[in-house]
């Protein structure tokens, strides 16, 4: 099998030579996804510094210009604003909202999942019923209702997305923890008198990190998609703040005359979501304990 590395040769980057990382890297699609996300993130956060126009600049003479004509690479919108610049700004917001929502929902979902899976019995049944009840609402309906009732600031949107996304994580975590809780090391820890929170945090949680990471990755994908949905419908990120979703909001009426208005942001969303899904898939294969050689 693998030799135990000599401590002298272990560096901080030894993890990159680990078997699981190697397995991930063999997953072509996951690597493509990872590179795409890195590229997108860099483009959105650093791109604006490289473009000649910023997203607020109104170029009246170049209104409605298609991509690859003139000086605007991706064309301009009805107001004459550069689409590439708007795309990058919007990307900053969409990606940040998606990522933050993921962090929140993963936290909530993990806590609930661990508690439910560890304690079992009635608390598990009760908590899982609540999870099921939340899952019974179509996410979009719930989000729109909340967005209509509460002030739609980016923070609020992030919270709303998180509130409708934590359930999947909770389900996955609960299932994994349930398996772990009946194992011998848990019983051993209890015999020694370890308090519940210690066992949950120090013994069980580290063993469940794998599936949590996979679930988290897939949650980002979902969160970006959800933000796009509610912003498209007009109840998400509000103008003048751009997001990939609300860029599509006006695009429908110009579908005839300026189709690139609709196509460009959609491609960006699809790229981002697909990439995260590929990464999640690759992570799932890599972290699957049974298949590491």
């Amino acid at each position: 099998m693998t030799a135990i590395p000599d401590p002298a040769t272990r560096t901080r980057f030894a993890i990159f030579r680990g078997p699981r990382v190697r397995k991930f890297m063999r997953h072509r699609l996951a690597m493509i996804g990872l590179l795409t996300i890195i590229f997108l993130t860099l483009a959105c956060f650093l791109g604006p510094y490289l473009l000649p126009y910023d997203e607020l600049y109104i170029d009246l003479r170049a209104r409605f210009s298609p991509p690859l004509t003139g000086s605007h690479i991706l064309g301009t919108d009805p107001l004459g604003r550069d689409i590439a610049a708007r795309l990058f700004s919007a990307g900053q917001i969409s990606l940040t909202v998606g990522f933050t929502a993921m962090v929140l929902s993963t936290l909530i979902g993990t806590v609930i999942g661990v508690v439910a899976g560890y304690f079992g019995g009635w608390s598990r049944i009760g908590l899982m019923r609540i999870v099921d009840a939340f899952l019974s609402f179509p996410s979009i309906f719930l989000m729109l209702t909340l967005a209509a009732f509460l002030k739609p600031s980016p923070t609020m949107i992030t919270l709303i997305i998180a509130v409708t996304s934590w359930m999947e994580v909770a389900r996955i975590v609960e299932a994994e923890v349930r398996g772990q809780s009946s194992r011998d090391f848990t019983a051993a820890a209890r015999m020694v008198g370890a308090p519940h929170w210690w066992i949950m945090g120090r013994e069980i949680l580290p063993n469940v990190i794998g599936p949590i990471i996979v679930a988290a990755t897939l949650t980002v994908a979902r969160a970006i998609l959800l933000e796009a949905y509610i912003s498209f419908l007009g109840y998400g990120i509000q103008p003048p703040l751009p997001s990939w979703g609300n860029m599509l909001n006006n695009a429908q009426q110009y579908l005839d005359s300026a189709p690139w208005l609709a196509i460009v942001p959609g491609v960006a969303i699809t790229l981002a979501v697909t990439s995260f899904n590929f990464i999640g898939d690759g992570l799932r294969d890599a972290l699957d304990a049974r298949s590491v050689q």
Binding site: A133, P138, T145, L146, L255, I269, V273, T274
Partner: protein
């Protein structure tokens, strides 16, 4: 079987109760609660608002309000639309048909295509077809449904002129073929995500079944391949998919909302968006609760379906 049904019914009721509590919490998040409509009327003083609040019973303790609301819901009083004062349930009823038509057609397409792709992918595992189907599915469920709809409208309506860009029918011509042609794009667009999900799960389920001993027995009996695939592999692989169909309901309903918006389809989704625009809270809440209850009932029916299809559940 009876025990199973009673157990599931009780579970369903508990679920609906929790759903109602969540719903009630959401209602109370509305700014000003149910009073906001009145607050917008000029000339309302604070005493007027307080008096109306008292009339509406809004100064009673929360649990009492909740029970009151719950009793109303159960007896069919879901409030009245702010727009035209018609009972919310009537409004919902009027728009339900269009949505059911869309959802039904779309689900039928998704199940048929998804099963076909999934089973073929499993039977020809690791082939080019399988690989493309897997990657294709992952991309398909990453595409925003509404964007796919916009692109479809662009191609098929604007560029090619083959299909209408929206609505359920053309005014003046309400023949069957008119309805049918309007149904094509929205139902396919809505089906996209579900085909992707269904085919992935079907593939996994089929692979599981293919490894089972009874498939080997079927081969040992000298059955022709088509019989083994249909009566033994697919028949058994479809059983867990019934449960999946129930679980997918909220996704389909949500997708229907978005699809109806893009295609101006006169269903519940469009109604929801319109009501949001009008701040018609009773209808908004009504639709929210309706969708959740529909899902709970749908899942219950799916469980019954599994029990019918799988004797192990019935008898075990």
């Amino acid at each position: 079987m009876i025990r199973f049904l009673t157990h599931r019914t009780l579970q369903g009721i508990v679920l609906i109760l929790i759903v109602s509590m969540i719903g009630f919490t959401v209602i109370n998040l509305a700014p000003g609660g149910p009073l906001s409509q009145y607050a917008m009327t000029p000339g309302m003083s604070q005493q007027d608002l307080d008096r109306i609040a008292h009339q509406m019973g809004l100064d009673r303790p929360i649990p009492v309000q909740y029970l009151d609301w719950l009793v109303n819901m159960v007896s069919g009083d879901w409030g009245k639309s702010y727009r035209d004062q018609s009972p919310v349930l009537d409004v919902v009823w009027r728009h339900m048909g269009a949505t059911l038509l869309l959802m039904g057609t779309s689900t039928a397409i998704a199940v048929a295509l998804g099963t076909l792709i999934g089973v073929l992918g499993a039977l020809k595992r690791y082939s080019v077809f399988d690989y493309m189907a897997t990657v294709g599915a992952m991309i398909a469920l990453s595409i925003p449904t509404f964007w796919f709809g916009l692109v479809a409208i662009f191609f098929f309506s604007l560029e090619l002129g083959w299909l209408p860009a929206g609505n359920m029918y053309t005014v003046g011509d309400q023949s069957f073929s008119d309805y049918a042609i309007h149904l094509i794009m929205p139902s396919i667009v809505l089906a996209l995500v579900n085909v992707a999900i269904w085919s992935r799960y079907m593939r996994a389920s089929t692979l599981d079944v293919m490894d089972q001993d009874y498939v080997r027995t079927a081969r040992a009996k000298g059955l022709p391949r088509w019989r083994i695939v249909s009566a033994h592999i697919v028949r058994n692989a479809l059983i867990p998919m019934i449960t999946l169909a129930g679980l997918q309901l909220p996704t389909i309903i949500g997708g229907a909302l978005v699809t109806e918006t893009v295609f101006t389809w006169p269903g519940l989704g469009r109604l929801f968006i319109d009501s949001l625009g009008y701040n018609d809270y009773p209808v908004i809440m009504g639709l929210l609760m309706f969708s959740a209850i529909l899902t709970v009932i749908g899942n219950f029916l799916a469980d019954v379906g599994v029990a019918l299809a799988d004797p192990r559940i019935r008898l075990g």
